[in-house]
């Protein structure tokens, strides 16, 4: 997949409260973070993209082909969505079967599904837990199972909903490595985030949503220095950007290593 396009999208949950009105967005090969306060419309946006919600107006297309009439189940072959709460999907009694469930639904043979599931579990570091009951594992491990169950489906686009919530440093590093690996495989990556440090560290492009409107959209390096606009969306800058600005440096630092190198050069 090269391009996912939303054009003139309108959506509301009730007639008197509009969530989106004339929303235009295009996602291409860049890894993209979608940030915004609670209620900004982030989850609604990805649900529309996944076919879980139908817009009242506008068009959705993948590489120019309209997907407006496809159900979420039909889109499952092309677009994967990793939900925030793994407990909303896990129902099998062992990890391997849980991860194989999606691939089997979209027409993989049993052999292909098992192969894909084992590879996905290896990617998330749970290859030794294939026979365990998912509910015997920790919440962060269950989140990785939910992630593996989408990776195993080998979709062209992968959307993450708050993947870092409940993850420790090692978990976040693992997710970062997976996102980079998926990007290298040519997949389209989209991620809803509240963790600005992770967004700055991992994603090439950042879209800031506020009350259903895109108020900032650009290269992550150009988005996070925009303190005033971010404040409008009740967002804070990544810590490294804040520290640099507190020290009086106006260059856009979004990685710790950049700031450290800059300070070392100044000595």
């Amino acid at each position: 997949m090269n391009r996912f396009k939303l054009k003139d999208i309108a959506f509301s949950y009730s007639p008197d409260v509009s969530i989106f009105e004339g929303l235009d967005l295009t996602f291409d090969s860049q890894t993209t973070a979608i940030v915004g306060q609670n209620g900004a419309g982030k989850t609604t946006l990805v649900k529309i993209m996944k076919g879980l919600l139908k817009p009242s107006k506008g068009t959705l297309s993948i590489d120019g082909e309209s997907i407006a009439d496809q159900t979420a189940a039909q889109l499952a072959k092309r677009v994967g969505l990793v939900f925030q709460n793994p407990n909303d999907q896990i129902f099998k009694t062992n990890v391997l079967e849980e991860v194989m469930f999606g691939p089997l639904n979209i027409g993989f043979s049993r052999f292909e599904a098992e192969k894909g599931a084992r590879e996905a579990l290896k990617k998330v570091g749970l290859e030794s837990k294939v026979s365990d009951n998912p509910y015997d594992l920790s919440l962060s491990e269950r989140k990785l199972i939910a992630l593996a169950s989408i990776l195993a489906m080998d979709t062209e686009m992968v959307i993450f909903d708050e993947p870092t919530t409940g993850q420790d440093f090692a978990g976040k590093e693992k997710i970062k490595a997976i996102i980079n690996e998926l990007k290298a495989e040519g997949k389209l990556i989209l991620c809803i985030l509240h963790d600005m440090d992770f967004a700055a560290d991992v994603f090439e492009r950042t879209v800031v949503l506020n009350q259903g409107e895109v108020i900032l959209d650009g290269q992550t390096r150009d988005v996070f220095p925009e303190k005033n606009v971010l404040e409008k969306a009740y967002l804070e800058q990544p810590y490294v950007t804040q520290i640099a600005q507190a020290l009086g440096y106006n260059d856009s630092f979004i990685h710790e290593s950049e700031l450290v190198a800059f300070l070392n050069n100044k000595k």
Binding site: L52, T71, A72, A73, K77, N87, D88, Q89, F91, G102
Partner: protein, 255 residues
């Protein structure tokens, strides 16, 4: 989130009544339909109940509840009219089936009794906030555990409904088709019901731990959050209702 209560907020004298008095009215009105099983008397109780619904400004809200009981009412009329053992006097016939006057009379009594029950309960639930009623019952000695069960069920059902939506979305994302013919829906049942049950069990466990953390089972005497509400003419109305029931019993025994 939708709540499961049917309470309708209005400014009416019925809303201002003590929930226990309304509960007493429910019990008394139903009891009276058995003490005085004549259509005339039951009709009188029904009239008073509907009048109270009108005074409580909830008569229109009670109509959907009454409509729900129509299937039962219709069944009663059919079964009693055609098949009651005391049926003798023929009213009309539909082919080989004969409808009798005696059966119709029995059905009339039963239907009016059902309407009194539905009307009285509607009066109670439409004009009384559930938490007010539960707190009043606990103050009168009902176990706080039972009170908690009543309130949690009312909260849990909408919560489960919301969880069900999330779970359905998660499974549809993995290719589970939930829309379509019966077979498709049956197939989708297991991937959906598993997480719903497990989530509910987890939530219940977490809820009970959270309650214990806040001293729910403490043997200490509990202080109520809300001060005892004053209900004017409480005793007078409760006495009047009790008096009418006693009068009904006397009428039945000696009348």
């Amino acid at each position: 989130m939708n709540t499961m209560t049917l309470y309708v907020e209005r400014n009416s004298p019925i809303h201002r009544l003590d929930p226990l008095v309304k509960l007493l009215y429910v019990a008394a009105s139903i009891l009276l339909t058995y003490i005085l099983p004549e259509p005339l008397y039951i009709g009188g109780i029904l009239f008073v109940t509907f009048l109270l619904l009108i005074i409580g400004k909830v008569f229109r809200n009670s109509l959907p509840i009454v409509t729900l009981s129509m299937f039962l009412i219709f069944s009663l009329v059919i079964v009693q009219g055609f098949f009651h053992p005391d049926n003798v006097t023929e009213l009309f016939a539909i082919g080989p089936l004969v409808f009798y006057e005696e059966g119709l009379y029995v059905a009339l009594v039963l239907v009016m009794r059902v309407l009194v029950m539905v009307g009285a309960f509607s009066l109670l639930i439409l004009t009384t906030a559930t938490d007010e009623m539960v707190e009043r019952l606990i103050k009168k000695g009902m176990s706080p555990k039972i009170g908690h069960v009543i309130l949690s069920v009312l909260q849990l059902i909408p919560q489960m409904r919301a969880t069900m939506v999330k779970i359905t979305d998660a499974q549809r994302s993995r290719g589970v088709e939930t829309e379509g013919d019966l077979l498709t829906r049956v197939k989708a049942f297991f991937p959906l019901i598993g997480p719903v049950v497990l989530n509910s069990l987890n939530e219940t466990k977490e809820r009970s731990i959270a309650l214990e953390m806040r001293g729910f089972d403490s043997p200490m005497k509990k202080t109520f959050l809300n001060e005892a509400k004053q209900y004017p003419h409480n005793k007078l109305i409760a006495g009047l209702i009790t008096g009418i029931v006693i009068l009904g019993i006397v009428w039945r025994v000696f009348g």
